[in-house]
């Protein structure tokens, strides 16, 4: 050993309790600053920039294993999948034609009503790297960051519907808060009757809820909820949830609706981040 151990009883540095007190104070100051101000965000970004490459390196062996596993897929399985995908493609093409016709009609109608065009969005594809091990929030880390031009607040979707929202952006990664997080909400619209609602997470994996509905709100099991687009964060028309049942808590003057998220919250690996159109002021008609 290069140095003999210090004897804590007779050392000339501060006592253990005093040093402990200092460190507790430092931790509390950091926590307090974090709670009130945003200055520690750059520290977080910096440290994450160091941890990011380590994480990627550590994930590499597992990816190799998975790729090796994928390599030995049976020929028959591939053929079956190919057939299924072909059918699906035909299906989608037909659907696309229909959609194009509808879009043309929509443009025409909007033009005749002189409504502003809905803001366009640019999709950025991303992949989930890992789930953030956080006991307080439902979050995932994706492999796109400020280098790819991401910014906090952008919506994240997958093939089936809304998944969440980008909440923190680092150099090469970003944190997405899932829709199921208790503090996360999305303004939605009931497709059946256009009723505008706010759907929020419950903190459990596969359940959303609409809290505080008026007693006579027209919502029932089987309704589809799509984003209404009135908040300016989520573009209009992204599928969000399907209502499973409505209930009234005992003695409460409200009813609640339990919904199942449509997007693969916590299921798939591939996601799409929607970059909102560059801010263009909406012309007043």
């Amino acid at each position: 050993m290069s140095q003999p151990p210090k004897n804590p009883l007779f050392s000339r540095e501060m006592g253990l309790s005093a040093r402990f007190g200092l460190y507790v104070l430092a931790s509390l100051v950091i926590a307090g600053v974090e709670a009130r101000y945003d200055v520690l965000h750059s520290v977080r970004v910096g440290v994450n920039g160091l941890l990011g490459p380590v994480r990627v390196t550590l994930a590499r062996p597992w990816e190799w294993l998975r790729e090796a596993g994928d390599f030995f897929v049976i020929h028959g399985a591939l053929q079956a999948e190919n057939r299924r995908l072909r059918q699906e493609r035909e299906h989608l093409l037909a659907y696309q034609l229909d959609r194009q016709a509808l879009q043309a009609e929509n443009r025409h109608l909007r033009a005749s009503l002189e409504l502003p065009r809905p803001p366009g969005v640019t999709p950025i594809h991303a992949e989930i790297m890992q789930t953030a091990p956080d006991p307080f929030m439902h979050r995932v880390i994706i492999n796109r960051g400020s280098t790819q031009g991401l910014a906090a607040g952008w919506p994240v979707i997958d093939g089936a519907g809304l998944v969440g929202q980008v909440t923190r952006v680092f150099a090469f990664t970003a944190e997405v808060t899932l829709l199921t997080d208790k503090d996360q909400g999305a303004p939605v619209m009931n497709m059946r009757n256009g009723l505008r609602l706010i759907v929020s997470g419950t903190g459990t994996q596969n359940l959303l809820e609409v809290r505080f509905l008026g007693m006579h709100a027209d919502i029932k099991a089987g309704d589809w909820l799509y984003t209404s687009g009135i908040d300016g964060v989520y573009p209009m028309g992204i599928p969000v949830a399907k209502v499973m049942n409505t209930s009234q808590a005992h003695g409460a003057p409200f009813i609640q609706a339990q919904c199942r998220p449509l997007g693969g919250v916590g299921r798939y690996r591939q996601l799409t981040v929607l970059r909102p159109a560059p801010a263009s002021p909406v012309e007043k008609p």
Partner: protein, 181 residues
């Protein structure tokens, strides 16, 4: 090196203090880095909440075996890294780490003479309490939706302690300590 170096003063440890391979800086920092790497590894989502905080366990081990290398400063830095890694409110883990290290350092003379298993029983409150403290502090700092499942990681780490302590004991030669008669 002489046997007197690297050991505690004679009157505190009456027997079997000569270590075959005493803890060195490389061993301490190497094992801590390895534990950090385990923490940063991509664990499967469904078991993520069961994965113990390896860096914290190794830190407590070195608090017991080599307090002159791993003390409060190390706990503070590791805590901050854990906060950033987990995306937690900053300062929570560093506070919890420092408290656990403080308790272990205060009990260090007592803890270092136990075998891995009984040591595990005495360190268990720290291992369980760390996660509980982080959750409570998080609640206090305004994160009101708490997933209490994460307390299970503390139980797992308490169960894993004997194994980890034994492994590191082998590394530092404590395992081959002659049994007092």
């Amino acid at each position: 090196m002489t046997p007197a170096q690297g050991t505690r003063p004679k009157h505190f440890l009456p027997k079997g203090t000569e270590l075959v391979a005493p803890p060195t800086r490389i061993k301490v920092f190497g094992s801590l880095l390895l534990a950090l790497a385990l923490n940063l590894s991509p664990w499967v989502d469904s078991v993520r909440w069961l994965v113990p905080d390896f860096a914290f366990m190794v830190l407590l081990y070195w608090n017991i075996r080599a307090p002159w290398f791993a003390g409060l400063g190390m706990a503070f830095v590791l805590g901050l890294i854990a906060d950033v890694d987990r995306g937690l409110h900053m300062g929570l883990s560093s506070l919890a780490y420092c408290l656990a290290t403080f308790l272990v350092l205060s009990l260090q003379r007592r803890l270092e003479n136990f075998d891995a298993f009984s040591q595990g029983l005495q360190v268990a409150p720290m291992l369980l309490g760390k996660d509980a403290l982080v959750l409570v502090l998080g609640f206090w700092f305004g994160h009101h939706s708490i997933d209490w499942r994460w307390l299970a990681a503390g139980v797992v780490s308490a169960l894993l302690w004997p194994l980890l302590a034994w492994l590191l004991d082998v590394l530092t030669g404590h395992a081959s300590k002659p049994q007092p008669d």
